[in-house]
Amino acid sequence: MIVRAERLNKWYGRVIALNEVTLSIGPGITGLLGPNGAGKTSFLRIVIGLMRESGGEIRVLGERPWNNPGLAVRIGYCPEHDGFYEWMTGREFVAALARIRGVRDGRAAAREAIEAVRLSEVADRRIATYSRGMRQRLKLAQAVAHRPEFLVLDEPLTGCDPIVRQELIALIRGLAAEGKSVLVSSHVLHEIEALTRTIAVVHRGRLVAEGEVSEIRALIDRHPHTVKVRTDRPRELAARLASDGDVVEIRFEDGAVWLRTPRPDAFYAKLPAAALEAGAAVEEISSPDDNLEAVFRYLTEA
Amino acid sequence: MAVHDQSYAAWTGAYTSRWARIRAIVGMELVQAFSNLWLLLLLILAFMIVSGWLIILFFAATQQVLPPFAIGNRLYRDGFYNLGVANLFFFSMILMLLAATMGASLIARDRRHNALVMYFSRAITRLDYLAGKFLALSAFLLTATFGPGLLLWLVVTGMGPERLTFGQRLGDLGAIALHSLILVLPVSAMVLAFSSFTRRTYVAAILWVTFFFASWIFSTVLQGTLKEDWPKLISWMSLAAHLGDLCYPVRGLSGKRVLDCGWVEPFSILGSVTVLSLLLVWRRLRSVEALE
């Protein structure tokens, strides 16, 4: 096991960030999924030894992470928030940190890492001039420069445009293919899906689920969905859809109808035909339940 | 797919007055200041000095002793606002610390969090912003200067040995108010100027502290080496103390003045520093892009 957490707790004053979290993380890429404020960053900071747990036990690569420099050099950390020596160039920054981690030839290590994250063109510019995507890549570069065994990436794709996002996803998968273990956190399900099949879901400091992504996806589809359809003939459309038992609740509002269905796949399949039969022009279809927050609600209520 | 009307629709609601917006900025800063433990402790320290005098006056009254420091209005001047040794005034130092802790963050924090763009993209002018910050800091510092002074005035009214007329008591109260303003307004302007120089609150605080003490040290060293009196005019503390001292009507034993000059020189120096500081902040605020 790469990480073994046993009844881990962390509180800040009266705020409980982590509540009895028991989790084991193995080799490969593991996603840590949760909405903002779920406790992902707190967990990651405890894993890398920046923060001390308030209770419980944690082992990373078989050792306690708190105040353990010997373990720290085996881990690469990409923080969520930016923190740079802005007066340095990207290359100097990565080289300096590589040397602090005990790498003999810091410059060579920096060159390799910068090439791997495709930052060579701007590596000799001051960090203060970097864009958001460049900063993310720089953080990744310093995390891999000293060739750690275990990478901890805290929301590495946040704020990146789609092109940078794709590049970083490919990079992270490449690092895992080299044999590194990666723990990556995010609040966006499809980002995690693009990286890995193995995820752990946290919500309000608790571990609510762990397993394969496909199981989480099935949960989204299994739990009752609320769908809003904006149309010129809401009552006629609702009458058509309610006739065959796929709809358990209907509510009308001005120019729209809210429907609740336990079988969203079947419902969506029937909707076009029902609209045609009712002669209803459908302007908009939306669902507040087709997202992660709904999954968390479902999981925690279950 | 629903397509929504993207054409511009003018705001038809009512705006509040400019004064209401300035008040909002002041209120926001004061709420933060009064919820800071350090600032509250320093405020309590300022009030504790008054409590000390309360006890001393009480004993003097019970023993029917006439303490010389309580005669005339010396208690306010030498006993409180200008209490100190070698022109190092205790109360000025408390005020300096309060200004450094609360005032240094007023503009520096907004710069650090890129909030200036947010402010000026609303119906808030640079002048409103500057007025709001200046008034907030001045109001807070006045709590620490006029508040204890008012309490001391009440204590002296109730337990002081002198029999004074209503007019004389009101005159003392007016002098306390004026002294407080003299202590507070130039400090507020200077601290805002330092706060606008940097994104880091602690650097602004240290710059202000450096200026405050450097002026005193320069004055002390130049007096000691040149053996002349004019270096006293360099000390910020002495200028404010002297000008404040002059606010009080002279009754009985007036005690030694801080400086051997009138009000013109100290007022000119403090006044011009205040105005220049505010102008400097104003200039820096005019170019938000450069600041960011």
Partner: protein
């Protein structure tokens, strides 16, 4: 580990000159020379050696040493935490206590070097006044030694303040309050406690190294207490420096870096 420590020392040295703290430090270091220049050129009664002694006594040792140490002490501790760069340092090869030790050592040495330059400029500026000037290398060297001792005591204390308190401004407030009230006020009071201030102990060292044991008019404020002798002051300051350094190291080892999510 040695390589990592050397790399970290280099990084610390480079970061001393970054940001707004460098201009703030430059102002602090140039002010005594400006003050000496003013004193030397504006007065007819000023003597060169007197100007130098006054500036060093009141400004360099009584004020500049503390402000310089606060600027860098807070920057190295609380400033790094606020910037988010401390995470990179604590995830390196060096244990936290060694990080603090390297930071304190490198910074103290660098600041002492800068103070030497400042004092040299001050001595040269003082020399413009009439009369016998300071004994350039001997007096500047002696004052640098004393100032360096002051920095070695003050810097770890302020680093400890920065590591114990959550925010930089809280750290500055906690650093300034004891400094101002203990070092600036109590130092000049006619009470026994005054002998225990760092400033009076530094002045005790200065008395031997600069004034050859002869207290002149600058020491007239000493009433009801005795300025500590050379040995006494050395021991006291060494103990304080060690204590504050251990305090800073312990604070770093115990400090949880909780980040923005904890606020």
């Amino acid at each position: 580990m040695l390589r990592a420590a050397a790399a970290f020392a280099g990084l610390t040295l480079r970061s001393l000159a970054s940001g707004k703290r460098a201009p703030a430090a430059a102002i602090l270091l140039l002010l005594p020379a400006v003050l000496a220049l003013l004193a030397a050129t504006l007065g007819r009664k000023a003597e060169a050696a007197t100007v130098f002694h006054h500036v060093v006594f009141h400004y360099s040792l009584g004020f500049m040493v503390y402000l310089l140490s606060i600027v860098y002490g807070i920057a190295l501790s609380s400033g790094e935490i606020e910037d988010g760069t401390v995470g990179y340092l604590y995830l390196g090869r060096l244990p936290r206590w060694l990080i603090v030790g390297v930071q304190a050592g490198v910074t103290a040495l660098a600041l002492t070097g800068l103070v030497f330059l400042s004092l040299l400029l001050t001595a040269l500026a003082s020399g413009l006044a009439p009369g016998e000037g300071p004994r350039l290398w001997r007096d500047v060297g002696a004052c640098t030694l004393v100032a360096g001792t002051g920095i070695l005591v003050a810097l770890p204390f302020y680093m400890a303040c920065g590591l114990v308190f959550r925010t930089p401004i809280g750290a500055v407030a906690s650093a300034l309050v004891p400094t101002l009230f203990w070092e600036l006020l109590v130092t000049g009071w006619p009470i026994q406690f005054a002998a225990w201030t760092v400033t009076n102990n530094l002045r005790g060292l200065l008395l031997v190294l600069l004034f050859d044991g002869r207290p002149g008019p600058l020491y007239k404020y000493v009433k009801n207490f005795r300025i500590p002798g050379y040995e006494e002051a050395s021991i006291y300051l060494s103990v304080l420096a060690g204590l504050f350094l251990v305090l800073a190291m312990a604070a770093a080892s115990a400090r949880s870096i909780e980040g923005k999510e904890a606020r």
